[in-house]
Symmetry: C2
Subunit: 492 residues, 2 copies
């Protein structure tokens, strides 16, 4: 009798097992191709506590070669201890070309739980949801295959599983007080998850999986994964189209209109420099104490005086609290990821200064002009960068961008000086001469960049640097003014 009763279930199980095996085989075969074609795949696995996210990921990876995948398991620290932008850990963990990264929960849990815990305000929640949509779109437009799963179980099923875990020493630690809180507040979480999924399904859809039976969820997830990879491999790497979002842009002059004559006498310079550096040193303390992140972006013509300008800013700062990030050509492991990745990974902790000596604007200057990315890529980048910078200022950062400006004659004079001064020769390369020949093209690109990315939250400043002294004092004043404003009214 018993045997007969079980038969349909047994049969179903056997069939599921066979399907899973077949799908795993296909995934195993696919890895050769997504590796060869350099397709990066991001799989986000969200869901209820005890829904089996870990087991599901284990089912998915079991036949993939370890060289081709990674699993990222974020740890949610209390918001009060968070020292980086909300998306930072997730952006840092994106896969490189040709690999799959599985996220064992991620930005959804981060948003929903902090919202329900009231660790963030409603406005912060909204900004984060917007940032999530931007992040996912930017990845997709950058050629990433992104899949999002939500592993669903009922309140009863969750209670049953948690109780089972709590029954023995080896597993009881797995049920945290946060999990128990979720169990008690199941309804609240359900609303939170549903609302989040609704708000974030436009670019990348959510797939809700039935977590009540593990093999069922595994089969469904595998099927979706295998199908989407097939599709992506067939269609080739996706390149997003440029798009227009309405950022409040500041009016910027054309470079040709800028008067480069302002200068300072040595005496004026020394006096001002001393006073301003003292003030900046004081403000650094306040900024540190109030945990305000400060991001200073330097772009400008070769030999415009970026280095010396940066040193005058850095001089009064406590070396514990700042970093200068020189940005050179991307290394192979950086080229193998979305172009903003190498800047995400270099962001300062809150309360720290980060001075970028060249920046993500390389995308719309050198990469545009040298053809290192497609036209769609750099045209899309204006908005992507505006989004990225808004995410930084939403986090609380002060973001200031300086275009260190000189004219062609001044550049030539400085190049010659470098060439003729032994200890300066290392600063001058063949590339500098080549870039100089493309001055008109660069000027056009810079003008477009300044028009399209000078936002109220992250403004550009053109720094007249034919006279370096004038340039340094002007930059110091801008930084000081912005920091004073940022410190006002912020709690320490």
């Amino acid at each position: 009798m018993k045997k007969e009763k079980n038969d349909p279930e047994k049969q179903e199980n056997a069939q599921l097992k066979a399907e899973i095996k077949a799908l795993r085989g296909r995934l195993m075969a696919q890895q050769q191709e997504f590796r060869a074609k350099g397709l990066p795949i991001l799989v986000l696995v969200e869901g209820w506590s005890a829904a089996g996210k870990g087991s599901l990921i284990n089912e998915l990876i079991s036949e993939i070669d370890p060289r081709n995948y990674n699993v990222f398991s974020p740890v949610l620290t209390p918001e009060s201890e968070a020292r980086y932008p909300f998306l930072y850990p997730y952006a840092k963990a994106i896969p490189e070309n040709g690999k799959i990264m599985f996220y064992d929960s991620g930005w959804m849990e981060d948003c929903v739980r902090r919202d329900l815990r009231r660790e963030i305000t409603r406005d912060e929640y909204k900004n984060r949801v917007r940032a999530v949509c931007e992040f996912e779109r930017q990845l997709r437009d950058g050629g990433y295959l992104v899949l999002k799963f939500f592993l669903n179980i009922s309140q009863q099923e969750q209670r049953k599983r948690m109780n089972a875990l709590r029954e023995n020493y080896e597993t009881e630690w797995r049920v945290t007080s946060e999990d128990l809180w979720q169990q008690n507040e199941y309804k609240l979480f359900k609303e939170g998850y549903d609302a989040f999924m609704e708000k974030t399904s436009e670019v990348i859809p959510w797939h809700v999986l039935d977590g009540s039976k593990r093999s069922l969820a595994a089969r469904d997830a595998l099927k979706l994964l295998v199908e989407q990879i097939d599709k992506a491999l067939e269609e080739g790497r996706y390149v997003g189209k440029p798009f227009k979002e309405s950022f409040p842009l500041l009016k910027m002059p054309k470079l040709a209109e800028v008067d480069l004559s302002p200068s300072l006498t040595d005496e004026e310079y020394r006096k001002e420099l001393k006073k301003l550096q003292k003030r900046l040193g004081e403000l650094h303390n306040v900024v540190y104490r109030k945990k305000i992140p400060v991001i200073l972006c330097y772009e400008g013509w070769d030999a415009a005086g970026k280095g010396g300008n940066i040193r005058r800013i850095a001089r009064p700062l406590d070396p514990r609290g700042f970093d200068v990030m020189p940005i050179a050509s991307p290394e192979p492991h950086e080229l193998a990821r979305q172009y903003l990745w190498r800047f995400w990974t270099r962001l300062p902790r809150s309360g720290h200064f980060c001075i970028f000596d060249r920046t993500w604007y390389g995308r719309v200057m050198v990469e545009r002009l040298e053809g290192f990315c497609s036209e769609d890529d750099w045209k899309r980048a204006y908005n992507e960068i505006n989004e990225f910078e808004r995410q930084l200022t939403d986090w609380g950062a002060v973001v200031l961008k300086f275009w260190i400006h000189i004219d062609q004659d001044t550049q030539l004079a400085r190049f010659n000086d470098r060439q003729n001064t032994p200890e300066k020769q290392w600063k001058l390369t063949e590339e500098d001469w080549r870039n100089r020949e493309k001055w008109p093209q660069y000027e056009e690109a810079v003008d477009e960049m300044l028009q399209k990315t000078s936002t109220k939250n992250a403004p550009w400043f053109i720094i007249e640097s034919n006279d370096k002294k004038y340039a340094r004092i002007k930059t110091l004043k801008i930084v000081i003014e912005a920091l004073e404003k940022a410190c006002e009214g912020r709690l320490s």
Copy 2:
């Protein structure tokens, strides 16, 4: 009258200022050369709280181009929260070739403070001091210029400075309760610092600077730095000689002596696999709870079955708690640092598994045979690696190393199979064929490696893998046994 009295002091100050300026100029000129020659320079600045470490570093960097230096400021978290080996943050921060890294305090403060705070036992302190000596020697032998400064002030001077800092809002936060404790326990710290310096001055000497007058300390530090850089540039990159330390080595058979016939039937395999994986899954929970780090190292012939073996270990593990690290050829930013750096940066958090698919033993195999490092380099590496692994097991890690072994016929059969199976083709490269031709040379190198690096704390196991099933079961059993032993008696 007053004017006259001040004159000698004024004169002295003016002279100091001039000296500092001249030294800075020399440093500025040197950067071109240490950059071109790829000399990596590590400057450790230790000293009393409020001695002016930050200001000193600022004096040192003020004329160096930001592209050529970095400052690292470690944060001492409570020992109870430390999830990595003691040297981890410092090893992670070492400079790349051609750059200077300034450490704004480092391993000295870490050791001395934790010892005085009784966060570590006396034995742990001793082990850490030994690790420091090893770390510094390995850097020196790897061509690094290492300088160590201790900035000294008296108890009275420290009290005066702390009081001044505590007088206003902008700076009072700089004096922490730890600093006040040091002020009260000045004598105790003095003994601690002195003892530490005495124990760690054999390889790299300490330079104690008088911190009571900032310009004096700056002048002395600059002078030492400039002189040492000159010396290093003149003498060329240092390559350490091989040395012998007495590690308790386990007796290992030669590969040629290994009987590769053991095998399992499918049925035996399936039964054992299921049982052992279940047990490993249970142990993973305990290991996680007891915060034991687990490091499994896989080396072996091409096509020996490393990947499949690793997957059988990984299968029962919770993906939140393990990583598989495939080790390929080093990338440029990895080649630009000491060879163990890319492994330091990949270490697991305590409680986590890290499975290395190929390891730091590349140094004494492929790098030796292909001439990617000098003979002195790979000969020195046996002891350096033993030291590194002892640092890992001192931290509490379980370190197990597997040589997955097959014979040449089996390799050929598997290569042919890969070549003839479309979904396996990606696994087989030209390089595999080339390596195969060097089997005898590799066998010699592997034999030497097994003889010289199988220590009691981090033993090698030869895994007979002509029959992959046998190999997997044997590996699982070894891992389980080691974990059971490690879990015994460890507090959770």
